[in-house]
């Protein structure tokens, strides 16, 4: 049976530490653009932790919400691409083929989650940082769109390893960098087609909802709502 990769984000566990963001940068060869460019909206974070404040000072509460590509089933970003650079792959992921991208940036506009990023300039790494680049992930050139891939390089490796040993990928044995790095275990990754997987069971939780669900894009990421501590103690 084909895989259908999905994720659960437990907002109750997220502390907003941004370890996922850092891990993603390291794993996926994401360039840092510097403070000035970041201020102009050129920063690239395939996963970001959105912060929302509630209440008036001093009674302020902060809510964190990690947002990454929702790997939509009916992804609005795909059909608008004139060159099929953005399309659905066989595992239900929104694949982005960098070599095919001509940089119309239409996908970035069509994406309602704003999780697509553009290489406004040629990415650069200050020496010796180029030595820590991940050899499994291609570098993107200026003028190309990029986005979260659910660490497709790890998925590919796990699939070929499993195929060589003629077995399925065991639940929990495969994780994208963000989920692996999350100290609180807020990010759970797995195969939604396997009803016994952790991600499939958590996705069915009554606490679960999808981001901007009414747009009908069928995102594959489920957010688990926060609960008041008194309720969870009860």
């Amino acid at each position: 049976m084909a895989y259908r990769w999905g994720m659960v984000v437990d907002l109750d566990r997220c502390t907003g530490c941004e370890a996922c963001v850092t891990a993603c940068h390291a794993e996926n060869n994401l360039p840092t653009v510097g403070a000035d460019e970041a201020a102009r909206g050129r920063a690239m974070h395939w996963i970001r932790v959105e912060r929302y404040w509630e209440g008036e000072f001093p009674d302020v509460r902060v809510k964190f919400r990690p947002v990454l590509c929702q790997q939509c089933g009916n992804a609005p970003c795909e059909a608008v691409c004139p060159t099929y650079a953005s399309h659905q792959n066989e595992d239900g992921l929104n694949a982005q083929v960098y070599n095919r991208c001509i940089g119309t940036r239409y996908c970035g506009n069509a994406c309602m989650y704003n999780v697509r990023f553009f290489n406004f300039f040629h990415p650069q790494w200050e020496k010796p940082l180029q030595l820590q680049l991940n050899p499994d992930v291609s570098l993107r050139e200026s003028g190309v769109m990029e986005k979260c891939t659910f660490c497709v390089q790890r998925i590919k490796a796990a699939k070929s390893a499993a195929k060589a040993e003629d077995r399925a990928i065991a639940d929990g044995s495969l994780q994208p960098a963000c989920a692996q790095a999350c100290p609180a275990g807020a990010l759970v990754f797995g195969d939604l087609n396997d009803p016994e997987s952790r991600v499939a069971r958590l996705s069915a939780s009554p606490r679960g909802s999808k981001l901007l669900e009414d747009l009908g894009a069928e995102p594959k990421i489920t957010y688990l709502h926060r609960q008041g501590w008194h309720e969870s103690n009860a």
């Binding site: 009916n74 992804a75 795909e78 059909a79 099929y84 399309h87 659905q88 069928e218």
Partner: protein
């Protein structure tokens, strides 16, 4: 004698000249009229038969439509890639391409057949006189039959205002 023609300033005179030539028994297709504007309200400008241009434009449109259909509906199946949960062969968007190709076919067919049937591009015929674009109306006969030739001069000169010229 290769050709004989007369220049008129007045479209009514040109009309008379055409009729005079007909009176001599010159075949309709041998009578040449050249002018710097269409003169649609004169009979001599309606001697061309009705054209097939509308049908050719239609045929061009159908050709374009078929080309558009083949382009979209077949190439989508050559390497099926799913986007946004849409079917591999997406009729709604393809309709737009088919429409544009239809119109492009019709436009190109019209333009090409317009040029071909109007024999453009071509060399200027021996009959042509630059006075035509100055506003004169040229009425003439190309390669007239010998017995008729001598009488053509008189017929054309018989219409008032005509300046007859012959091309040897």
């Amino acid at each position: 004698m290769k050709a004989v023609y007369a220049l008129y300033t007045d479209p009514d005179a040109a009309q008379q000249a055409v009729e005079a030539l007909r009176g001599l028994g010159v075949k309709e297709r041998d009578i040449v009229v050249m002018s710097s504007e269409p003169f649609e309200e004169y009979e001599f400008s309606h001697r061309d038969k009705a054209t097939w241009l509308h049908w050719i434009a239609g045929a061009g449109g159908v050709t374009g439509m078929v080309a558009g259909y083949l382009l979209t509906f077949t190439t989508q199946q050559l390497w099926p890639l799913t986007t946004s949960g849409m079917p591999i062969v997406s009729t709604w968007p393809n309709t737009i391409i088919v429409f544009e190709m239809t119109m492009l076919g019709a436009i190109l067919a019209t333009a090409v057949s317009l040029l071909i049937t109007a024999s453009l591009p071509s060399r200027l015929s021996v009959l042509y006189d630059p006075a035509v674009t100055l506003g004169y109306i040229l009425v003439g006969v190309n390669r007239p039959d010998e017995p008729l030739a001598s009488r053509l001069d008189e017929a054309l000169a018989g219409v008032p205002g005509g300046q007859v010229k012959t091309v040897a």
